[in-house]
Symmetry: C5
Subunit: 355 residues, 5 copies
């Protein structure tokens, strides 16, 4: 479940790029979106040779957003790094997709790592992808481990000029990217919540061994999710405290909104965890309850039939002188006696509420 | 139980108003209560067109309180926002009824979110409503998600001029609104406490599967309640530390009282949680105890009748040469033997305190 | 167990006096003890009309201690408040006996709330009473919810002039009151400790359902006790940090002693809690142990008699051609076989250490 | 286990000396060891009358160490206090042997309380004694509750002039006393560790009820031990932060060593606690396992013999027309049938791995 | 498992060298690697006599790394200490291999203790070795308790001049040593992760008593591992805060990388601990489940055969007048009755999903 860095050989010098994560071979897609208040220009870069010749912004006030989908092609990452002056350790973190969400301030850029989540449709497995942001004064470079349609709505907003995005700087764009990612967490929360509700119904109706294993699977997903959200909260919190000059004051109020969302997500995850712990208790006590039920059946049966069998056994003895055996009403009398014992036992158990 | 934001589409620009919460269609009721030390004027606003023309206060020293019941009508909220210069993010938080209690300072107002609780009469379900307060120098705007009679007593106090409320500023009014809401928490505590006591009696008298589920339901209510009170404490605490200039020093001593109440509520909730955890233990051990009882019955019955049945079986054998069978007193002797075995067993069990 | 404020109607203005606690009707007893280094004067006040005319101190250097036993008579409290300039919120806290221990600084006095504990003799129920202290430069006013002999030794010390109490100011008197109250906590600790030891012996000798309920009762008492001591520690700690000017430096060293005692009490309570948790474990494992015992008896009996009964059953069959039945030594042989089976089984069980 | 102050009557003035702890009557032994770099003088004081006339140090640079073994003789303590200007509250703490480890700074001395531990040989009971140190510029006074040979090695070091002890001041001597006491904790750790290992072996080989009680006894010892080490760590930590001027900078580096040892001890105690908790789990699951074993035996026996007995019962019926009874091979056929049932059952259980 | 210092006698003066750890007798190997940007010189020191005559660095800018494998030869350590001015307490810590990871600043060097981990191949036992680093302005001395090939890759890097190591100072070399050690933790994590996965599969397929003991063994390894990583994180964190002047600013960014790795390791260990705790739950509930299975078999068998045996018993009675016995179809009728009872019981149990 928790993949550790397999391939990295201890002893290699720091800054050596080693892709850690799922192996992939598909093409890396690079899009460059440049916009100013009046203009938007969008292009897909096929060839990184002429990267240095592209003017990063349109006019003096513009902002450019370079989005790289796929971090498994080390050469591309290295070229980007050289062209935009990114520190080797940053590049190492970008290609290692098992980073913890964090924020690091370098001399001329801010480096943010966060996690995007999605559900694999077929088996309700939680998929985690890493998103790395590099925020420079007039540019945002985003590295997305797993491509998805997540940022399409944001692109549409830029194209249409909706909201204030085209009037603001690169820090607002970085905020938007974080906001979109965090907003998507609520979908994950919903899925988790629904899964928990289904489990709870199953638990009350008919708990089986599978239920228990599903509780555990859910718990693990929760831990994985929480582990990514928790440090992000700290990260955004440190940004909020204004410790970094890369974020303008007017953007801080929006970041506070992201922070609130993260706290909301964490709160919900904690509540889900409590509920899962409670379900574990319910499961265990349902096992005990069921055992009690089984034992009651056994005890009722044994308590009724043992005396009856004993009575039958007595009159099955072969003693020469057993007067009852000779009586004409002996057999019916014994049958009535047996019925009486049975009725008494049933009465006793129904008073004990066992039947 | 924990509703996540269903309708919000990720990617929409921040400040987009989306109502999150129970769907409702009833009319939003807006009342404006303006008062100074000498005068009180109260009106219900039907039409928001002329909102801008109403002078917010009576005379120079007055305070006005605008109370909006219902936050599901987005147009109303938007109009209020435009008229009184409320930030779009604040409006977004007001219509999203799943906010965490919090306090946010904006340039010209203080924004407070808190939660009101009530019990649905029919099924003892805990109902949570959101209350948002906007505190401006001479005005308080309160948005109440679910209308109730909660603020009637406060209105009466203003009308009657009881206490010092008409002599104080808008911050004292905001305090009163918070005080009334928090005082109502004690009623919820009482209900919870009574519910717990009932459960405890049921647990000792006759614990069933339903008892367990009720313990869990109660636990969830407690978590929900606690989750709203806990951050409110922090919020009021930060107000107390005088970090905000919106609260006068003379009002701080009253806020300290609210703070004390919140700590009292949290203390009690913690104790209830401990008690519920203890009840869980009691339930599980009562299951084990009952199992022991069942097993004792089974064991006593089996231990008495198995030897008896065996003896009867022996004299039911068809060997040709079994001298006992021929004896005249054979049958009575065996009966006496059986009685002796039974008496011995009963004595053994009563010494073990099983019967 | 945890009584919440029943009578207070939400919406009443702050500072409204409402007595919360046990209803009582007995007379409130007010004693005034004035002393200086050379003189002691003691009187019981019957009539509060002339309160304002009594000079609070004897000479310039004296200290006066007014002790009010009973806080249920609201008029008395109100009169005291008016006469000595006590804030309405303070009065509200004095009559609400469910306050948390706390310390609050007002402009011209220090307000301290703490809890006194006692054991009801007949049913070992823990009784909690509230003590409120108002410390003014030359005066201490103490409000004691439940009258007791607790302060008699202190009064004797003042009368006799033992120790340095008559040479010190009102802050030293306040310290003495707190010291006496906290010292009494050790008696409660002793009682709790003895109760736990008794329970432990019972648990090892003969645990019953009552034992479990007593463990839970003890747990609740512990929580109640701890809940009162814990915040008091913080309170005294904040006094120690010298944040309040009402305490002289020479008294601080004595307060540190009170602080040490409180930490000692909290430590012991934590240890008792651990011990109670361990006793819960012991109880549950004793249930399992007992179940094992019961099952062993059942299994031993069943395992011995089932084969025997089967053998008897075989020779009870009515087949025409069963050669064994005709043998002369058939019956004794079968009896010997049965004895052999029994001996083998007993040997098997004794090797398994079941019998 | 946790003794609370029995004898102290609430209400006695602070500074009243009351010995709290085990009652003892043996003589208090006082030794005075004075040394400078060149000289060592050692004497046992029989008579405290002339205490004031003994020059505390040898020459200008010397250090004197007064060691008092036994704190139950209140007169001695009082005389010491008067002669060396010790505060009454300090004296009260010295004779109350239930102090928490702590450090208190007085005007002209530093007061340190710590705990010494030892094992009673016969019943592996942990014995705790209190050591109080008073550190003055040129003198250390140590009060040892229970006499032992603990400090002999240190005295030898002083006599022999080994190490740098004779070149350093009184703070170094105080450090040495603390170091010796803390180093002895490692012996206790070893004993505890060995006890745990023994228990663990017993738990795997043959867990009994006694094992459980021993786990609990060990747990209590651990709590007692930890409770004394934990606050000592804080105490030494606050010394390290240089808050007290009584310790020279050159001694601080040695105190850091003591601090490290204390953290090591605490770490180990935490690990032991985890291990004991794990052993509790092991014990409970071994109970469940054993129950499963017992039930398997019962089930196997019942499942084999019930069908057999039933078959025998069928052919024991007395119907007139039962053709099988007349068959010549009827009896052997039934025996074969019974054998087949038995073999099938045994096969079934061995496939289920029950036998 | 946790070895405490056996041999140290309390009372010996501080700075006395006592080797604590596994006893070893093999030769201590000392290598000296001196390098500057242009040159590398490597030698193995056989004789420490002439140590003082070896110039520690090559030229003015060079760095030298002295690596000592084995800390059990006290004379060697003492010689090193004298030659390079190492404080006796540092030496004491180096030879005591049960130090906690820590960092200590001395006047002219920085002392770092960390732990290296490895797996013993044969029995998957976790082996811990201590590494002590002494960082001086132009020199790093490393003491490695257990020799291994761990640092070979680093030596190769120095020899080949790969990366920037030959251009940087001694602090960068110290960073590299820490980085290599910490990177190796990921291998341990992988091994632990695989072990957990194996256990989990075993737990679902066929849990036995051994599984439980392996869970506990794993837990202990986890505690041991965590105990070494956790304080290292604090240590590196304090270095990062720039509290020590021994680390250059350019190296700090690399140390931040080590810090990230440590947090990653701690995160994973916490997740593994959660998983192990969950496995404990799974094991206990599998015990309960199995008990339920056993009891179901017993109950089904008893419930079917007890009524049948009773019926057979009834017709085995020897009453003279039992009309059924005379019927021609009596026997078949009873057989059909028995079959009906059996079918009904089977139907009942299959409806209850017991079979």
């Amino acid at each position: 479940m928790v993949k550790t860095r397999r391939s990295k050989k201890s002893g290699s010098p720091p800054g050596t790029l080693v892709h850690i994560g799922e192996e992939r071979t598909d093409r890396v897609r690079i899009t460059l979106l440049r916009y100013s208040e009046s203009e938007v220009r969008e292009e897909e870069l096929e060839d990184l040779e002429h990267l240095g010749q592209i003017s990063p912004t349109l006019g003096e006030e513009g902002v450019s957003w370079m989005n790289i989908e796929g971090v498994h092609h080390l050469e591309t990452i290295e070229k980007m790094g050289k062209c935009y002056g990114i520190h080797p350790l940053t590049l190492e973190d970008i290609v290692n997709t098992e980073q913890r969400p964090k924020i690091e301030e370098y001399e001329d850029y801010l480096f943010v790592v966060l996690k995007a989540f999605d559900y694999a449709d077929q088996d309700s497995e939680l998929i985690m992808g890493q998103i790395s942001l590099i925020l420079k004064p007039k540019m945002v470079i985003s590295f997305v481990e797993k491509s998805g349609a997540t940022y399409n709505a944001l692109k549409d907003r830029i194209r249409a000029g909706k909201g204030k995005i085209r009037k603001e700087g690169s820090d607002y764009l970085a905020y938007c990217l974080m906001d979109v990612t965090v907003d998507h967490y609520f979908n994950i929360l919903e899925e988790l919540g629904e899964g928990i509700e289904l489990l709870q119904e199953e638990l009350i109706a008919n708990p089986t061994k599978t239920t228990l294993q599903q509780i555990h699977k859910m718990k693990r997903q929760m831990i994985l999710f929480r582990r990514s959200v928790w440090p992000l909260r700290e990260t955004v919190g440190s940004l909020l405290r204004g410790e970094s000059g890369a974020i303008h004051k007017s953007t801080l109020v929006y970041l506070r909104d992201v922070y609130d969302h993260l706290i909301h997500v964490i709160d919900s995850v904690e509540i889900y965890r409590d509920m899962l712990a409670g379900m574990m208790d319910l499961y265990l006590s349902s096992l005990s309850n069921r055992m009690n039920e089984i034992m009651k059946v056994l005890t009722v049966i044994a308590t009724i039939f043992m005396p009856l069998t004993f009575i039958a056994g007595v009159y099955g003895m072969n003693f020469k002188y057993m007067p009852e055996l000779e009586w004409h009403w002996g057999y019916p009398t014994v049958l009535v006696l047996m019925a009486a014992v049975t009725v008494y036992m049933l009465f006793y158990f129904s008073r004990k509420k066992w039947i």
